[in-house]
């Protein structure tokens, strides 16, 4: 079988296993909607705030479905010895990782769709204005956070510590990157940190495509920063990759 066909088969298997754990799948998709509902209720009188939150939570969804999920899952697969078992079969490594990545990307797309729908139906946010731009930023954001998630999994020593490691990155980053509020009001130091990281720029791009209608020309910096992190993530993901858990 070709590598493409094997990638597709692995993807189908990952999807099937994802839905085999329905409660996990349910909460996976519920979480961004829950955030949207909570913050939507808080800011329901202020359309400007709602216009910030919807692309913000879309950006958060990209990060949680790719970065957090991959860092978490790969740590588990490595520690359980499943990666090592796969490594002993003829399945090419690229086909296996491709299947896993496609699975994460599917979750990202589903979540963003839910967020856009909910924003339109319940919070009076308009339909996205620039569809191609939206697709471009989702694709780049997914590539960026997926590769960073794989790279980050190399730093996690074992599965027990995985939630702590993942949340130690995920929570501060969503906090300073303008998921829940307009970052122009935050302290300069935090803003500087957020400027260097990719999530704030991804949200800028999503916001431009979904809400303000700012063209790609206005978001070139965002494109460049997310693209640079995607490149760095890809290099680190490939170079440090290990198929075996550490022996402790």
């Amino acid at each position: 079988m070709s590598t493409a066909a094997l990638t597709w088969r692995q993807y189908r298997l990952e999807r099937r296993m994802f839905w085999r754990n329905p409660s996990a799948a349910f909460f996976n998709f519920l979480l961004p909607l829950l955030f949207l509902a909570l913050f939507g209720a808080v800011f329901s009188s202020d359309q400007k705030q709602l216009d910030v939150i919807v692309p913000g939570i879309a950006g958060m969804s990209v990060m949680s479905t790719t970065f957090s999920a991959l860092a978490f899952n790969l740590t588990f697969l490595r520690e359980a010895g499943i990666l090592k078992r796969i490594r002993g079969t003829p399945l090419p490594g690229g086909a296996y990782l491709g299947g896993i990545a496609l699975n994460a990307i599917t979750n990202a797309v589903v979540q963003i769709t839910l967020v856009v729908l909910a924003g339109r139906l319940f919070f009076g946010v308009h339909w996205p204005k620039e569809w191609p731009e939206l697709a471009l930023f989702i694709a780049l954001g997914v590539a960026c956070f997926a590769s960073l998630g794989v790279a980050f999994s190399h730093l996690i020593p074992n599965f027990d510590s995985a939630p702590a490691y993942v949340n130690a990155v995920f929570l501060p980053v969503i906090f300073i990157s303008g998921v829940f509020y307009d970052v122009s009001n935050t302290p300069v130091a935090l803003k500087d940190v957020a400027e260097v990281l990719p999530l704030k720029h991804l949200i800028d791009g999503l916001s431009g495509a979904m809400v303000t209608g700012a063209g790609l020309g206005d978001n070139l910096t965002a494109l460049a920063v997310v693209g640079a992190w995607a490149l760095l993530g890809a290099v680190l993901a490939v170079r440090g990759f290990s198929w075996e858990g550490r022996r402790i």
Binding site: M1, R16, R20, N21, A80, K84, G88, P90
Partner: protein, 302 residues
Amino acid sequence: MIKGMATTQPAVEVRGLRKRYGDLDAVGGVDFRVEAGEVFGLLGPNGAGKTTTVEILEGYRSRSAGTVSVLGHDPERRERALRERVGIVLQSTGMYRQLTVCEALTHWSRLYPHPRDVDEVIELAGLAGSRDVRTRRLSGGQLRRLDFALALIGDPELVFLDEPTTGFDPAARRAAWDTIRSLAQLGKTILLTTHYLDEAQALADRVAIIKGGRIVAEGAPSELGTGGSRYRVAWREPDGTLVEHETDDPTTLLHDVTAAALARGEQLAELSVSRPSLEDVYLDLTADESEAATPTPAVPAP
């Protein structure tokens, strides 16, 4: 020509294999051959270098020195063509918890060019009663059977079994042995590591005893015990002292000793002739530093 050569080619050939971790030789110059169709046992205490050796052959680790050939390939190059012909049972590995036995084997079978029939493999591995059970509900013994089944699904020529029964109760061990014997009957070449002497004796056509990263003895289990072909003749003197003689010629010794005793009108109490068993050889060879983490001085193989 090439066909003729292929039939005489050993399944595994290892020469001067070394694996160095820092200053430590985990494997310190190992040579052995596994012929096609043979069950070869790598026997040794924990930490002897068995798993390191076998994981180099499986392509998981690189070697520091030496040459290694597995079905004519260098495993370090990790060619797909080799992995299609090899089945691996690792010492301990997990499995996707949400798949049934049948689903897991079906998915695995598509990775190989000429897989065996899924239901046939389920039967062979003794999993017929668990065909549609999710793997997270399987017992430890059943999971080990699934390991065998997954290693077998691609119809490999060569199967690596790394400590296949460690931690098993006696009944589960017997069942696993039966499965391994049926693999051998299918004509598979099997390289198994174990630290159980009886397992090597029960399953292997030939055994290499490895200790401190070196092979200290090699041969058929029945031959290994007779290294040096020494016989031990022992008896108890009338005054109660136990006398032991080692000899290559027990016939003459017995004749002399018994003739002398009869001439004196005495009986030789507890007279016995014995050959060292594989267990004696094994315990003797691996006696000191059975948990050896440090390289030991070279012990010449007999």
